[in-house]
């Protein structure tokens, strides 16, 4: 089936099999391997991507469902520029070890912080509970997210 979508700001036109998931489509057809698969049944959150502003599971979304959508993957967060404040905070707080869950956690938090830059630790944890990290124990991830709030606040503030 033919679909057309925007991925990380670039248009993409593809012909996909109906059963192809959006995660597989991004990884294999578009070569965006930053999106990872770790359970393929919607539990671990590693494949989380942002579709029309919302964090969704790439493994539970069919590619054909994304026809006409705007998709952001981990590769699109910083693009070719400097790391984003959230990514920088991850590095400062050692919020990643093996890096396998990191893409899904960054996209999840990016969607959350974009929507609510004043979010508190408890809600960050609540939202993060849809992502499994086996390395860090989550504590530094929450610290990084809390620190990154300031940058999201600035970004959402209309110029004075």
């Amino acid at each position: 089936m033919k679909i057309a979508l925007t991925v990380n700001g670039r248009p993409a036109a593809l012909d996909v099999a109906p059963r192809t998931t959006l995660a597989d489509c991004l990884r294999h057809a578009l070569g965006l391997t930053g999106t990872h698969l770790a359970c393929e049944h919607g539990v671990c959150g590693a494949c989380t991507i942002i579709v029309d502003g919302a964090a969704v599971r790439g493994c539970l979304t069919l590619a054909v469902q994304a026809d006409g959508a705007e998709v952001t993957t981990v590769e699109g967060l910083a693009g070719d520029g400097d790391l984003t404040p959230l990514q920088e905070a991850f590095r400062r707080h050692h919020a990643l070890q093996c890096g396998f869950c990191t893409a899904g956690i960054l996209t999840t938090l990016h969607a959350l912080l974009s929507e609510n830059p004043d979010v508190e630790a408890d809600e960050i944890r609540e939202v993060l509970s849809g992502n499994i990290c086996r390395c860090t124990g989550y504590i530094p991830i929450v610290e990084a997210a809390l620190e990154a709030r300031a940058a999201y606040r600035r970004a959402s503030d209309p110029a004075p």
């Binding site: 930053g34 981990v74 590095r91 093996c98 893409a103 509970s129 086996r134 124990g137």
Partner: protein, 761 residues
């Protein structure tokens, strides 16, 4: 000469983060090749049975299916996977790379389908029909001990893969002289390490060169290369294991598994590159399990709480076969149960039982987590009976630096260099006091055992040692590149722990160069003629010291070349940061002599273990209505000899502690009576989530550098998980003291805690 920079011990952010944060990491499923085929493993759905036939006709007829490999496609004897720690008894229990006439666990490979795409391979695998005549499954300790039935009839006389003894002093006399003997039965449940990235391999066979390349290495590429070369009847130099980014290891990933051979065979048979990536469901049945242990153990003490002796027996259900390091948890549990304590007399026996379950291997802190749980429970039981403070009974038994080196129990049968081992350095009470201070025991103890707002509060303290620096050696090589950067090649492998950063710190400090000029390459057999890898908390100590030695050798080589160039004696040249300064103040830059090819190599030899020691304290609240336990505070303090990178060290300790909570409260791999694994998804294997354990604090000390290595470092990647079982169970016992419960069996799921409180229901 002063070292001009000190990355070691400084606040150094990780170099590998930049690519991971951008999604530019390259994990095994990201690797592809022209003409790539995809494999899917057909696994036994029967735990124990006779494999009568395999009908692959329909699968083979599917367009896009290239091969269905079974035992019949393996020339000659089916190869078995070699042991990393051989002992005389375990030979018959080695795992064949594919089942031929008998299956022994749910998930055992019986065939491999190779097709144009992973989807096609999966579709075709469903059409492969193994005919299996079921046999009764051995699931429990009793059935295994009764040899009912035998798993290897005609080959072995029982289901006992090995019996290890751990001995020291005269336990019998110690128990006869004791003022108090406490003992009980304990158990820890079967679980698995669960790295977030499932396993995967990509095999390339070059028929012209007769060379096999295996992508997807982790943990120990060099051992696996040797194993593969033997099985494939190739010289070792005709096999390479190549490491890419690795999404977590924790002991289970990177061992030689049946799939290593099968995927390689598929590439060799089809002449095309073949990739296999495990899905989560098969991961649960295929990767090594761990921790299924039962123990009956006793502690003998004098009236003041000094430990006189430790004795008893343990039974570990190691699953259907003995995997490469399947005996490690068994022997470790016996050898290290005494932990950080002075236990002069020990008589422990650990029996490895085979059963129709997934074969076991290691998971972070193998055997040590189990043994720590057993002895920490015994210590609290003894303190209660002697009327001693739970701190006192630990304090009087913790080892002092004056006693170092302190020999631990001796293991028989001997299975390598660590059959005899000694604690290396440390005043173990130091981390103990620092932990209790940070935890604020004096304040929290007021809550101990009290019912507050409907929940019982309890606190507890546990102490541990962590063995590190697995021998016998590690290798490193350095080369000055044309751009003046230094390439560092090390035999250690990266499993997500920040190896590149730590090695770059050590190399930069040794050479006196900025870290930016260091490039670290690791984990692939293509880089070094021999090497070991990353397991047993060894990379920082073994790889780090190898890098240091290679750096020192590089400096010496530079000095010699500079002296030659200047026409002076080597002693007249000083070297700082790859600048050589001659007697007249003449400075030679690296670039001046780089053309002469500056390179070095080193092999760091060390068979003495390092022993990080530490203490953990925990505060829990138990809801008697639901049995749910909440961790309100957890503090762990460890003494690691030398802190190379505080960020990654604390990352290891915190992450391990939270993994430990998963072990204590939720993660379990239950089996049905028929030997069917009852877990198949992450929705029913309950790993810690972000909402579960928000309060973990850790602090680290470096008061007693290890005398075993020039860096003074001690392995510290696993210790965080070791004390968790004992600490939490003791805190629950303390919280529920008015009920007289004995939480001696893990996991402490809400249902089990509730049952402890309601024994008659």
């Amino acid at each position: 000469m002063n070292t001009p920079n000190t990355y070691i011990g400084g606040h150094v952010e990780r170099v590998e983060d930049a690519r991971f944060l951008r999604g530019a990491g390259r994990y095994i499923d990201d690797v592809t090749r022209e003409g790539l085929l995809h494999a899917c493993v057909v696994r036994s759905a029967v735990a124990h049975g006779r494999l009568l036939s395999i009908d692959a006709e329909e699968a083979l007829a599917m367009p896009g299916v290239h091969a269905v490999l079974t035992a019949a496609d393996v020339a000659g004897e089916i190869p078995t996977i070699p042991f990393r720690r051989p002992n005389p008894k375990i030979g018959p229990y080695a795992q064949p790379v594919i089942a031929r006439d008998r299956v022994r666990y749910f998930g055992e490979p019986v065939a491999l389908v190779v097709a144009d795409s992973p989807e096609l391979a999966e579709d075709a695998a469903e059409l492969v029909l193994p005919e299996i005549e079921p046999l009764p499954a051995v699931v429990t300790r009793a059935a295994s001990l009764a040899a009912d039935p035998l798993l290897f009839p005609g080959t072995t006389e029982d289901n006992v893969a090995a019996v290890f003894t751990a001995t020291r002093g005269d336990a019998e006399a110690a128990f006869a002289a004791a003022a108090l003997v406490v003992g009980d039965s304990f158990s820890t449940q079967r679980q698995t390490a669960l790295p977030l990235e499932t396993r995967g391999l990509l095999a390339e066979w070059d028929a012209d060169a007769q060379h096999l390349t295996m992508h997807g290495a982790a943990k120990l590429p060099f051992f696996n290369r040797r194993a593969m070369a033997r099985m494939m009847d190739l010289p070792e130099t005709s096999v390479d294991y190549v490491e890419h980014d690795v999404g977590g290891g924790f002991g289970a990933r990177g061992e030689f598994y049946p799939e290593d051979f099968l995927v390689a065979l598929a590439a060799r048979t089809t002449g095309r590159p073949v990739k296999w990536v495990e899905d989560r469901r098969e991961h649960f049945a295929a990767i090594a399990h761990a921790r299924e242990a039962e123990a009956q153990v006793e502690l003998a003490l004098d009236a003041s709480g000094r430990i006189l002796g430790l004795r008893g027996e343990m039974f570990m259900n190691v699953g259907a076969y003995v995997r490469p390091n399947g005996m490690t948890p068994v022997r470790n549990c016996a050898q290290f149960m005494s932990g950080p304590y002075r236990v002069p007399n020990i008589a422990l026996q650990a029996t490895a039982l085979v059963a129709n379950k997934t074969p076991a291997g290691t998971f972070r802190g193998p055997g040590r987590y189990e043994g720590s749980f057993f002895i920490e429970r015994l210590l609290d039981m003894a303190a209660a009976q002697l009327g001693l403070d739970r701190r006192t009974i630990r304090e009087v038994n913790l080892l002092t630096n004056a006693e170092m080196p302190h020999p631990l129990a001796q293991i028989r049968p001997s299975d390598g260099s660590r059959a005899e081992t000694s604690c290396d350095s440390g005043e173990y009470a130091e981390a103990f006091h620092r932990c209790l201070q940070a935890f604020d025991w004096e304040e929290k103890v007021r809550l101990d055992g009290r019912l507050i707002d409907g929940r019982y509060h309890g606190i507890a303290v546990s102490c541990f040692i962590e063995g590190g620096a697995s021998g016998p050696a590690e290798t490193a090589r350095m080369r000055v590149a044309e751009d003046g950067g230094v390439e560092v090649y090390v035999g250690s492998s990266a499993i997500g722990q920040g190896l590149e950063t730590v090695m770059a710190q050590i190399a930069a400090d040794t050479l006196g160069l900025p870290m930016e000029r260091i490039r670290v390459f690791h984990g692939s057999t293509t880089y070094l003629a021999e090497g070991w890898g990353s397991y047993g908390s060894r990379a920082t100590v073994m790889g780090g010291n190898a890098v240091r030695e290679a750096g020192l050798a590089l400096l010496e080589r530079f000095r010699a070349l500079a002296a030659g160039r200047l026409g002076v004696g080597e002693g007249e040249v000083s070297v700082v940061g790859l600048q050589a300064v001659g007697p007249d103040g003449v400075v030679l830059e690296l670039a001046d002599i780089a053309a002469e090819g500056l390179a070095s190599e080193a092999k760091f030899l060390n068979s003495d273990a390092t022993y990080t020691n530490g203490t953990a304290a925990v505060h829990v609240a138990v809801d008697p209505e639901t049995g749910r336990v909440e961790v309100l505070d957890y503090v762990v303090c460890d003494e690691v000899g030398r802190i190379v990178n505080a960020l990654t060290l604390h990352g290891q300790v915190t992450g391990a502690a939270v993994q430990g909570f998963g072990s204590v409260f939720g993660e379990e791999l239950p089996y049905g009576d028929d030997g069917a694994l009852l877990v198949g998804t992450l929705a029913d294997y309950l790993v810690p989530l972000a909402t579960d354990y928000p309060r973990v604090r850790c602090l680290s000390l470096e008061s007693y550098p290890s005398p075993t290595n020039p860096l003074g470092a001690k392995g510290a990647g696993e210790g965080g998980i070791i004390p968790v079982g004992g600490a939490v169970a003791n805190a629950v016992a303390s919280a529920l003291r008015t009920f007289g419960v004995a939480p001696n069996h893990l996991p402490l799921s809400p249902a089990r805690v509730w049952a402890l409180l309601n024994p008659s229901e």
